[in-house]
């Protein structure tokens, strides 16, 4: 093997999921020479198992900057999806009809109303419309709701896409932009080298000027190697999908939505079980039960697949975007809502990484927020 000190790439992005691919795509649009180092066919990869919402309502209670970041990404989505379509010919089917979160009791209504009120009362929070709707108002849009539905919260900014097409469009886009996608390159170690970084992987070494850790769950192990912190943990979520059905549901309704292909996706569950993606029938059964209470019509549909995927969660559920102070040129990006935030990762985050540093607006997303010493 020949020894060379020259970097192979301007940037190495570790992780080829939605976060890593969106950043790599954005970097390539800014003329950077990029490689994505990814695992192989079987990997813990929420990018293949998510629910595909581009969702704004309810996000950011506890971190008003996150409400703004989310809204901005949702606003960027129309242009972003158009850009992807133009470049790759792939329509990721983004639609923004507004979204409902159905509520099944007066107590749930009250809890949701309070939550949203507190969110929107935070100082400096971004302003946008939302509405608490009663049963009659919801029934006007969706006459087939079940008798248990008491009402819903509604936000016109919510939408959804086809996240598998999104992942394919990003991969097609990066390939067209000359990004090197390197599968079966699980990164074992990152070392700082003069003027850059050296990644030791399952299939040899890769050198780069900058490195972005977007490795989902593995960020926890990798970030400390470059003086960063990504204290993420997995949370298991189950999803059910039905056979293709003629279009009947225009809106994403919380954890129920109909895809462009016709299948109805139903997903919701929150379990702390490590990296175990086993499907539990009792959990899917509970999800199915709740879905039928909301839309009784769904009961007759055949379930064709179920699966479980692992959300990448930080201690407060908000993203981490940070650059290393001890090793400049190293960045970490990790979040739960990789679909919603894809537009921002590509259009608003990547340009700063290309330029070499994150501006002040990202300070709120630093992992230092978890290091506040406990009050004596």
């Amino acid at each position: 093997m020949t020894q060379t000190t020259r970097s192979d790439y301007d940037v190495a992005v570790i992780g080829g999921g939605l976060v890593g691919s969106a950043i790599a795509w954005g970097l390539a649009q800014h003329g950077q020479k990029v490689a994505i180092l990814d695992e192989g066919d079987i990997a813990v990869r929420p990018s293949r198992g998510n629910f595909a919402l581009v969702w704004v309502q309810g996000k950011g209670l506890g971190l008003p900057e996150y409400a703004g970041w989310t809204k901005r990404s949702a606003d960027n989505w129309t242009g972003f999806s158009a850009q992807l379509r133009e470049q790759t010919g792939i329509d990721v089917c983004y639609e923004r009809p507004g979204g409902f979160l159905p509520l099944l009791s007066e107590a749930e209504m009250e809890h949701r109303a309070n939550q949203l009120k507190r969110l929107h009362n935070q100082p400096n929070v971004v302003r946008y419309d939302y509405e608490m709707m009663d049963r009659a108002a919801v029934a006007k849009e969706m006459p087939f709701i079940g008798k248990d539905v008491v009402g819903a919260s509604y936000c016109p900014l919510d939408g959804h896409c086809n996240s598998l097409k999104l992942l394919r469009a990003l991969h097609t886009g990066i390939s067209l932009s000359g990004v090197a996608y390197l599968p079966n390159h699980r990164v074992e170690r990152i070392e700082q080298r003069e003027g850059g970084f050296r990644m030791v992987t399952a299939s040899g070494e890769v050198r780069s000027g900058k490195v972005v850790i977007a490795a989902g769950h593995d960020g926890r192990r990798l970030a400390p190697m470059v003086g960063l912190d990504a204290p993420v943990r997995p949370e298991r979520g189950h999803i059910i999908v039905t056979e293709k059905t003629a279009p009947f549901l225009k809106f994403p309704v919380g954890f129920i939505r109909q895809t462009d292909e016709g299948g109805v996706m139903i997903g919701d569950s929150f379990e702390d079980v490590g990296l175990d993606t086993t499907v539990r029938n009792g959990v899917t059964s509970t999800i199915a039960d709740r879905a039928i209470r909301i839309f009784p019509l769904l009961g007759k549909l055949n379930v064709v697949r179920t699966w479980a995927a692992l959300r990448v969660l930080t201690p407060d559920g908000f993203p981490i975007y940070e650059q290393s102070t001890s090793m400049p040129g190293a960045f970490v990006a990790t979040c739960h809502s990789g679909v919603t935030l894809a537009a921002n990762h590509a259009l608003a985050l990547a340009p700063h990484i290309a330029a070499g540093g994150l501006p002040d607006e990202f300070t709120a997303f630093s992992a230092r927020r978890f290091h506040v010493p406990a009050a004596a």
Binding site: E243, K244, T245, A246, F248, L297, K300
Partner: protein, 98 residues
Amino acid sequence: MFQRLPNASGERVSFTIDGRAAEALSGDSVAAALIANGVQTCRATPVSGAPRAPYCMMGVCFDCLVTIDDVGNQQGCLVRVRPGMRVETQNGKREIER
């Protein structure tokens, strides 16, 4: 095109295909009953609308999907035909109401 062996014996079952009266033998699956009645296509796919007919006859391929007694997407090769059954061929995606 299939035809019944002349000496194939069994009880006759009356049912309907897309509203038309039809006959089958009591051991027939719905898919076999359609084939015996000369039905060449049992559905159009939800993806491209291409015509399909039973391919595996053992519950594997899902090309025999039909509507039976108002319930869509039933595997015709796994359901036995019953007297009075209403079988309908399918066109594309299933409707939510049925």
